[in-house]
Structures are given as structure tokens and as C-alpha cells.
């Protein structure tokens, strides 16, 4: 029984690899000033999927607390990444370690090809995707905004393809809307834009391209007030999604009056 407002809102879930999510905003857990800030910001973002990294326990610190001391794995869907991996073999190793933690068989696959731009090594990414899919992983593949690579990743069995808006941690927003739109139009699997979103307007414009969701970390964590920015990003993702569903008016190069031309007073 919804009101007109409710029925006009987007209530369709985001479905990835057969699993439903209500929020189209996925968030990272890195770079926060404190764990308390991180938890507050993530709760404010409304995200269900949160990414985590696999790293050595620091044996020199009396109590090196992993992130699971702060984030309840029953409350959030943990998506382990392979950040920092420069070869397919390394990425596969990290993915296997993450799965052995026992939460799920999902991985946000990154195979980095260049340390300055952190742009992906697409050959390594495809190779690792094939290996992990064969082992039963659900692979969400972080890639560049190249359509052909995106198509190959889908063919290789990725459950989601995640093109960048701009380089990781850059906050430059979406550099190539045409490429993002084209990838979304051509792929069957969900397209989640990952990396580069710097502020709410960036998130909104990304969603207005019709993509299925956004994954971000630095855009929230590096804001002066991460909790406020998390709310702004949540609203921007919802707003951009609604605007996409609503269908924007056509762009015109000339003005078209909004008020009637007839009924004007005699001069």
C-alpha cells in the first residue's frame, strides 16, 4: 500500500551474484582517523557491503586488532579485496586467504599494473578472474573504463564489473561518462563504479549514467566530516538513481518558456 511518493521511489534491490542488497552504495573501511569514525560513517552511509583488506597480523604490537573487532560481520556483508596485488598469482593467493576466513566466497578483485596511477593490469585481472571463478568465487572485478575489458570480464564469469570513475583515491570524479554509459549498456551483470568519486555531486552524476551502484572509500573517509559526507553520499546515490529512473528532460540549445505566452496584457 504505498503512498505516491513511496511508489515513485526506487525499491528494486541491487542483485549481484544472486544476492539482494537494498543499498546501492558500497563502502570501503580504509583511511579513517579512528575505528569509531569508521563505524559511524559506515552506519550513516546505509551501506550493506563493506570492503576489507587482507594483511599480516603485526606481531610486534601487543594487540593488533583486526577490523572485525569493530565491524559486526552479521551486520555487514564483508567483501575482501586484493588491493596491493600486482600479479594474478598474488591476487588469487589473497582471495583464497580471504575465503578461508569463512564469511563468504566473494572477492573484490584488484590486479594493479602501475604504482603511480594504480590502474589495473587487465591481462592479469582476466587471468585471475578465470582462476577464481573456476574455484567457485564470486568475483567483482575492479577495472578501468574500457568496454572490451569489461565484456571479457563478464565472459570470464565475473558477477559484477567495476569500472573506475577516475584513479583510486584521486577524488577526480567521473572522467569519461561515455565509457561508463557504454559499459552499462552493453553488460548484463551489474556495473558498480569503483574509485574516484570525490563528493556528492560526483556520486549523483555517476548514478545518472544508469549504473547499478557505486563503491567508494576515500570520498567519505578523507572528508573533514566523514559522517556528514557519508549521509551526503547516501542521498546522492539515491538521488542519482531516481533521476536516472525518472528520465531527464532533453537538452536544448534554446530557451523554451515555462509560462504561457497567451493571456499577456496589451502593452
Amino acid at each position: 500500500m504505498g503512498t505516491a511518493l513511496e511508489t515513485s521511489l526506487d525499491v528494486s534491490p541491487l542483485v549481484i551474484g544472486g544476492r539482494e542488497f537494498r543499498s546501492r552504495l558500497l563502502v570501503g573501511t580504509g583511511k579513517y582517523a579512528s575505528n569509531a569514525d569508521m563505524v559511524q560513517a559506515i552506519e550513516a552511509s546505509g551501506a550493506e557491503v563493506v570492503t576489507v583488506a587482507v594483511r599480516r597480523v603485526d606481531l610486534n604490537r601487543a594487540s593488533d586488532e583486526g577490523i572485525l573487532h569493530h565491524l559486526d560481520p552479521d551486520q555487514f556483508f564483508l567483501l575482501a579485496n586484493t588491493a596491493g596485488c600486482y600479479t594474478a598469482d598474488d591476487a588469487v593467493r589473497y582471495a583464497r586467504l580471504a575465503r578461508a576466513a569463512g564469511f563468504n566466497e566473494w572477492v573484490k578483485l584488484e590486479v594493479i599494473g602501475d604504482s603511480e596511477t594504480l590502474l589495473p593490469d587487465t591481462a592479469g585481472l582476466l587471468e585471475a578472474t578465470k582462476t577464481l571463478v573456476a574455484e567457485g568465487f564470486k568475483v567483482m572485478a575492479y577495472t578501468n573504463d574500457d568496454l572490451v575489458t569489461a565484456l571479457r570480464l563478464e565472459d570470464a564469469g565475473a558477477v559484477s564489473v567495476m569500472p573506475l570513475a577516475s584513479p583510486i583515491g584521486s577524488g577526480l570524479g567521473m572522467l569519461n561518462p561515455y565509457a561508463i554509459r557504454t559499459i552499462k549498456q552493453r553488460l548484463q551483470v551489474p556495473v558498480i563504479v569503483d574509485a574516484g568519486v570525490g563528493t556528492a555531486s560526483d556520486a549523483c552524476v555517476v548514478m545518472e549514467q544508469g549504473v547499478d551502484g557505486i563503491l567508494m572509500n576515500t570520498g567519505i573517509a578523507a572528508a573533514s566530516d566523514p559522517v556528514r559526507m557519508a549521509v551526503a553520499m547516501r542521498l546522492a546515490v539515491e538521488s542519482g538513481r531516481l533521476a536516472w529512473l525518472a528520465g531527464r528532460m532533453p537538452r536544448r540549445e534554446i530557451a523554451v518558456a515555462s509560462s504561457p505566452i497567451s493571456g499577456m496584457l496589451a502593452s
Binding site: G30, A53, R56, V57, A100, N217
Partner: protein, 68 residues
């Protein structure tokens, strides 16, 4: 004593030490970590007690940290 590499650092342990013993010595709760022994992931934490460590072994103890 035996010498093995734990998280990239050489470490001495008593002969016949088990993986569970090493974790205990390090104060690590086995439920919070994943362990790779000589490049093999040990998926069943219940078996940590029966994994015997030897000289020259490599052990990696990892967990989840913040990341994007």
C-alpha cells in the same frame, strides 16, 4: 630449538611446537586469523593443534584490516 619464518621475521621455537602453540605464544585468537603454512592455507582451525612446525617453515598469519 627450531628456526622458522613467521610473518616475514625469523623466530625460534621449541622443537615439536604446534601451530596452536605458536599462536598461543603470540597471544593470537585463532578464530580471528587465517594461517598459511608453507604456502598452504589451513582452512580448518580445529586442526591447528595437530600441525607440527619444523625448522625452515614459513608461516603467514593474516587478518582483515581496513581497505577500499
Amino acid at each position: 630449538m627450531i628456526t622458522l619464518t613467521v610473518n616475514g621475521t625469523a623466530r625460534e621455537l621449541a622443537r615439536n611446537s604446534s601451530l596452536a602453540g605458536l599462536l598461543g605464544e603470540l597471544g593470537i585468537d585463532r578464530r580471528m586469523v587465517v594461517v598459511e603454512h608453507n604456502r598452504s592455507i589451513l582452512r580448518d582451525r580445529d586442526l591447528f593443534d595437530s600441525v607440527e612446525l619444523g625448522s625452515g617453515d614459513t608461516v603467514e598469519i593474516v587478518h582483515f584490516v581496513g581497505g577500499g
